[in-house]
Each structure stands twice: as structure tokens, then as C-alpha cells.
């Protein structure tokens, strides 16, 4: 049962990753790409980490995976903002 839930979460996670990457290629400009990428990737990683945590069945590893996901979440949110603001400033300056 746990294996099934874990597998489903991992598959869903990969699906979100792929959706984000396709968005990266297909969307028209930097800002929409950033938007798609950050949200989809973080959710994908979260589902992947949750699936792996269930698969490992070890509290310590699960906590580490949670820490990794939280770090990526906070870091990529800030990075996306910084990149967008940098691009906007460059556009406005030229």
C-alpha cells in the first residue's frame, strides 16, 4: 500500500517536472518561463521527495528529504524574483 502511494507520488512529481520544462521551452518570454518553472519544479520536487520518504521508511532520511525540499523551495522562490528583477532592470535601462 505504502509502495503504491509512494510510486504514485513519484510519478506525479516527474510529471510536474516535465510540465515545467516544456513550459520553459514553449512559453514566449522570460517572465512567464520563470513563473512556470519555479512553481512546477518545486511541486514536482516536493512530490518526488515525499514519495522517496515513504519509500525509505526511515524517519531520519524523511526529515533530510523534507529539509532539502524546503531549502529548494525558499531558495528558488527568491532566485526567481531576483532573476526577474534583474531582467526587468536591464530592459528598463536600455
Amino acid at each position: 500500500m505504502i509502495e503504491l502511494v509512494s510510486s504514485l507520488m513519484m510519478v506525479a512529481g516527474i510529471g510536474f517536472y516535465l510540465a515545467g520544462s516544456i513550459g520553459l521551452l514553449r512559453l514566449p518570454d522570460l517572465y512567464s518561463r520563470l513563473h512556470a518553472l519555479t512553481k512546477a519544479d518545486n511541486l514536482g520536487l516536493g512530490l518526488l521527495a515525499a514519495g522517496l520518504a515513504l519509500h525509505s521508511q526511515d524517519v531520519f532520511i524523511a526529515l533530510k528529504l523534507l529539509l532539502v525540499w524546503l531549502a529548494v523551495l525558499a531558495a528558488s522562490a527568491a532566485s526567481a524574483h531576483l532573476i526577474a528583477r534583474h531582467a526587468h532592470r536591464k530592459e528598463a535601462g536600455s
Binding site: A71, A74, A75, A78, S79, H81, L82, R85
Partner: protein, 326 residues
């Protein structure tokens, strides 16, 4: 993972690494090259992980992806301010371009020769009998080394002399950087988002550095990875425009820079005085001595990387020196 999927994975990783490296070297714009180099470092870290070399993967992730990228970006940023933007190429510059082309061919040939040598060494190693391999020798002597991570045992015990010399090289590099001049200009004060990022990123990086140092005795980690992570914390502080809070002033900084090689020497000479060979740790004390040396080395490595990022003496230190000179 079964063998075929692993093979496909390896192949795709290899294609990514080679194409990123090629694009980074072939790109005309320096900033673009640096960003491609950062991406290259990230994929390379995954490759080291797949090759079951977590120590190297940690070092690659810390130094190759983040820190080298930051250092190169700062260096490239300065360079673009100095290159002239006119179209005409003066005679002196034409000669310089010719020299540069020759140099590029020379370096390419050197790299090819190095790659061929490494390939030969790898094939030779794969052919050799199990009892001739380094791994066998290390695992036989691991119990006496004081740590249970074989990489740390090699770096800090079996080949401690090499690490001492590496730290001396780092110290020399730091001296060179300090001698060049004063630090690069400060950064603008961070906006609220970057400030918020720095507020949690810096403590987490410092904690992770301490964790890597401690865990290096029995799991992948160690002084180099910890030092690079600590340097990343200081780099984030500087990028956020804050005065280097906590980075020590000139005198203490010099002591810290010298501490890596210095602690090695102190331990080694003390052991000599006690009648043991230079850096021949007594097995009962080996673990503690290794931790002591690694702590000093972590601080020294971090300080060297931060000095490299700063680009020279900080202005406060420079004015101090001038006051002392007269």
C-alpha cells in the same frame, strides 16, 4: 536500476556534460560562458554522485557550481568595463590575437595529452589485480587511521604531507591576492527579497559547513567541502551589500589564512618533539588530531576563498597598513 537503464542514463549525462563544456568554451560572450560553466558544474556534481563518489560530488557542488561561478562572474564583470568597444583592430592587437591563437592550440594539445594519460592510467588500473589496488591497501589500514571515511583517512592521515602542501599552496595564493591591491567595490544594499534569502541562507550554510566538517570522519564530507560552504556564506553576505559582519579584520584574517598549514606544522613538529615521525599520529589520538587539523583547515580554506572573492585587502586594512608604514 538495471544495467541498460543505467547505461542510457550515463550516455545522456555524458552528452549533457560534453555539450555544456563545448558551449561554454565556444561562446563569444564571457558572461554567457560563465553561466554555462555553472550549469556544467551542476551536471558534473550529479555525475560524480552517480559514480558513487559523494566526497567529490560535495566538493564539485560547493566549489564548482556555486563559488567558482560567483568568482568568475565578478571577474568577468570587471573585465567588460575595461575592454574598448571600437571596431578597428590596431596592429598591436593583431599580434596579440595571433599569440592567442597559438596559445589556444598549445593548450588544446596539452589537454589532449593529459586526457590520453588519464585514459591510459584508468585502463591500467582496471586491469590490475585486486591486491595491487589502492582501495585494498586503504581498507586494510583504515582501522588504524582514526577515521572511518577512507577519503578523509587518505587526505588527513596516509597522505597528510600532500594536504599540507596543498594548504601551503592555498596560502601562497591568498598572499598573492592580498598583495595585488584593494578589494573590489561593495555591492548595493539588498532589496527585501534578497535580504530575506540571506537571513536564512547564511545561517543554514554555516550550520551545514559545521555538519560537513563533523561528519567527514565517518561519512562523505571533510574540511574542503566545509570550507567552501563557509566561504559561500560569506560571499552571500557580501553580495547582499552588508559589511562583512563577522569576517575578522586584517590581523586576525592573516592568522586564519595561515592556520591551515600552520596547524599541520604545529601538530607535526609536536609529534617530532615527542619522538614520533613527522605527522605520524599515534593511533589512539589520530581521530582527535585529524579533527583539530580539519577545523583549522576549514577556516583557512574559507578565508582564502573569501579573500579571492574580495579581490584584495579590504579598504579598512589598507589604510591600517599605510598608518603602520610611517
Amino acid at each position: 536500476m538495471n544495467a541498460t537503464s543505467l547505461l542510457v542514463f550515463d550516455g545522456l549525462l555524458l552528452i549533457s556534460i560534453v555539450s555544456l563544456a563545448w558551449a561554454a568554451l565556444a561562446s563569444p560572450d564571457a558572461r554567457r560562458s560563465v553561466i554555462l560553466f555553472m550549469a556544467f558544474g551542476l551536471v558534473l556534481a550529479v555525475a560524480w554522485g552517480r559514480l558513487l563518489a559523494p566526497n567529490v560530488a560535495l566538493a564539485e557542488a560547493a566549489i564548482g557550481a556555486g563559488l567558482s561561478g560567483a568568482l568568475l562572474l565578478v571577474a568577468v564583470g570587471e573585465q567588460s568595463k575595461h575592454t574598448p568597444h571600437d571596431g578597428a583592430v590596431p596592429v598591436g592587437k593583431r599580434n596579440a590575437l595571433r599569440v592567442r591563437a597559438t596559445l589556444q592550440w598549445f593548450i588544446t594539445l596539452l589537454c589532449a595529452a593529459l586526457a590520453a594519460t588519464l585514459a591510459w592510467a584508468l585502463l591500467h588500473a582496471l586491469d590490475s589485480a585486486t591486491n595491487e589496488r589502492l582501495a585494498q591497501a586503504v581498507s586494510e589500514n583504515l582501522a588504524a587511521s582514526g577515521v572511518s571515511n577512507p577519503v578523509t583517512a587518505i587526505l588527513l592521515n596516509f597522505r597528510a604531507h600532500d594536504t599540507l602542501l596543498e594548504l601551503a599552496v592555498l596560502l601562497t595564493a591568498a598572499l598573492g591576492i592580498l598583495a595585488i591591491g584593494t578589494a573590489r567595490p561593495d555591492y548595493q544594499r539588498a532589496g527585501p527579497v534578497f535580504d530575506g534569502l540571506a537571513r536564512w541562507l547564511v545561517p543554514v550554510l554555516i550550520l551545514t559547513a559545521g555538519y560537513l566538517l563533523w561528519v567527514g570522519a565517518h561519512a562523505p564530507g571533510g574540511a574542503f567541502q566545509a570550507g567552501a560552504t563557509l566561504a559561500a556564506a560569506a560571499v552571500v553576505l557580501r553580495l547582499a551589500g552588508k559589511r562583512i559582519i563577522g569576517l575578522p579584520q586584517a590581523g586576525t584574517l592573516r592568522v586564519i589564512l595561515a592556520a591551515g598549514a600552520g596547524m599541520f606544522l604545529v601538530v607535526g613538529l609536536t609529534l617530532l618533539l615527542l619522538g614520533r615521525p613527522f605527522l605520524g599520529y599515534p593511533p589512539a589520538w589520530a581521530g582527535s588530531l585529524i579533527l583539530l587539523i580539519e577545523s583549522a583547515a576549514m577556516l583557512a580554506i574559507a578565508a582564502t576563498l573569501v579573500v579571492a572573492f574580495l579581490g584584495g585587502r579590504s579598504p579598512a586594512a589598507a589604510s591600517n597598513d599605510e598608518n603602520n608604514r610611517c
